[in-house]
């Protein structure tokens, strides 16, 4: 088992020396991306995203909760990820392991720091009641780059979401009343990049074998200001990045973002429109 993956890693390195990948993509090219919203009627919003064979489902649920003491007039956001044993034999049941916790935290940080959700508008009664947004991520098939898929799906599910009807007298949500009000979303739609280093080569959207062969990744979230800004970042893994390499990574992001972001944005928006919810 170990030998097999070492051989694969070796082959990946050899290929990359010549700028090649197993599936003939160039180093910065993503696999085909599909976005579909409205996949679960009981959720406030939902989406599934496929990047190649990688597939992730995300649902948004909302509840009325107490605000956090340091933000009495703001809604709460919580992102949870489950790396399900259904999606890959390497995942097991039990308390979430580091990979699942980190994935949830990275999506959370990217969305939170982008200020994409206007949490100020999700206050019902200052200090007492606010909307709590749950974004729950499930892996369905893991063939690498789950994080970018999870991020795209989370943003699409937020776009798809409608705030349920809260009956103030009864102090509960009435799911029978149709909800039409969308979430208060801002212009700052976040987009996430996981940039992998394999030796000295930078690659985007790795398949699982490439992920396993990589030294680590730099994760960063971009928002569409003019010029673009970075609102969250994390170096993930035990590896070193030279300053030149770091700057090269940022250049790759800037270049790729220009074509990729509008494409994904369009995919998500047209899917929200056609979603029956």
């Amino acid at each position: 088992m170990i030998e097999e993956s070492n051989l694969t890693a070796k082959r990946i390195h050899e290929y990359l020396e010549h700028g090649n990948r197993f599936d003939k993509r160039n180093t910065e090219e993503y696999r085909e991306i599909e976005v579909k919203c409205g996949i679960s009627k009981k959720s406030e919003g939902s989406a599934k995203v496929k990047i190649g064979k990688t597939e992730v489902w995300v649902g948004v649920k909302m509840e009325v909760a107490e605000p956090y003491p340091d933000s009495p007039d703001k809604g709460n956001l919580m992102v949870t990820a489950e790396l399900t044993p259904l999606s890959h034999p390497k995942y097991e049941y039990g308390p979430p392991k580091f990979d699942a916790i980190e994935l949830g935290r990275l999506v959370d940080r990217g969305i939170r720091e982008s200020k994409y959700i206007d949490l100020n508008k999700l206050c019902i009664e200052k200090g007492e009641k606010v909307w709590q947004i749950f974004v729950d991520v499930y892996s369905i098939n893991d063939d690498g780059n789950l994080l970018d898929a999870a991020f795209i799906a989370s943003v699409a599910a937020l776009k798809d979401a409608k705030i349920p009807f809260y009956d103030k007298k009864e102090e509960k949500i009435d799911y029978k009343k149709p909800s039409k009000e969308k979430l208060p979303l801002t212009e700052n739609e976040p987009f996430n990049f996981s940039i992998y280093l394999i030796g000295d080569k930078i690659i985007l959207d790795p398949i699982q074998d490439e992920e396993n062969a990589s030294d680590g990744r730099l994760v960063l979230t971009v928002i569409p200001t003019k010029p673009i800004s970075i609102c969250s970042m994390q170096k993930s893994g035990e590896f070193e990045i030279s300053e030149e390499k770091f700057s090269e990574m940022l250049d790759v992001v800037e270049k790729t973002y220009k074509t990729l972001f509008p494409k994904i944005q369009k995919l998500a928006e047209s899917s929200v429109k056609s979603s029956k919810q």
């Binding site: 064979k53 034999p89 098939n141």
Partner: protein, 237 residues
């Protein structure tokens, strides 16, 4: 007031629209999606593979291990991630239902893992889960002596109905709602799973079981078709 007309206008012996699709999780050895109307289940099978920890191994045959889980957003009130008493029981019940049909004598010390996830729930989720799992097991090529299909039969007041929805489950008029989830093996016609909540007479229960068996035959035909479709697709490749 008697239950003379179903909430969604179906005939009493009619299931909701059934969709079955095989091969939805590429990583798995076998996988499938199965839905009754707005109840959607996906299942993936991994194995037979070495079972760890070793003390759980059976030197005489492979074991089947089923896990049923609802996605947090599959119902109105968000479900906290992780197992519950309910999901633990349904996992076991699905395992008992499916184990009868599999032949794992040739795979001692191994396990076949079946993972069931419900993405959208409108009652009868365990039945949809078992149906998806049967398909996934067949798709994985796990040796089977028969094929399991599952359906819920309900009694609304005095009326027996097929494939209960959440709205029907909550019916309170007259004698109220009785919900009977059941699974049968297709060829032998034997019952491999049954659960009941409610109140029903001997005679009505026998009627319900007979109707369940007939309905499972119809469900089996849909499952068979879905398997055939994927086999032909995979052949073309």
């Amino acid at each position: 007031m008697a239950y003379t007309k179903r909430f969604d206008g179906r005939k009493f012996d009619e299931t909701r629209k059934i969709d079955a699709k095989v091969g939805v999780v590429p990583n798995a050895d076998g996988s499938a999606m199965f839905s009754f109307g707005d109840t959607v289940a996906i299942a993936a099978v991994y194995g037979p593979k070495q079972l760890h920890p070793q003390h759980m191994q059976n030197p005489e045959k492979g074991i089947l291990r089923v896990n049923y889980q609802m996605m947090s957003f599959s119902v109105n009130e968000r479900i906290r991630p992780g197992p519950s008493k309910r999901s633990t029981e349904i996992s076991k019940i699905s395992e008992w239902a499916l184990a009868s049909s599999t032949l794992l004598n040739e795979f001692p010390n191994t396990v076949v893992d079946v993972h069931i996830m419900i993405s959208q729930a409108d009652a009868s989720t365990r039945c949809a889960g078992i149906n998806a799992a049967s398909l996934a097991l067949a798709h994985a090529g796990v040796p089977m002596k028969d094929f399991v299909s599952s359906v819920s039969i309900g009694k609304m007041d005095k009326q027996i109905v097929v494939d209960v929805t959440k709205e029907e489950e909550d019916y309170e008029e007259g004698e109220g709602a009785t919900d009977i989830a059941m699974s049968f093996m297709n060829r032998s016609g034997k019952l491999v799973h049954i659960q009941l909540d409610g109140k029903i007479s001997h005679k009505e229960l026998k009627e319900a079981v007979e109707l369940g068996r007939k309905t499972c035959k119809k469900i089996y035909e849909i499952q068979r078709k879905a398997l055939k479709e994927v086999q032909e697709m995979e052949k073309e490749k």
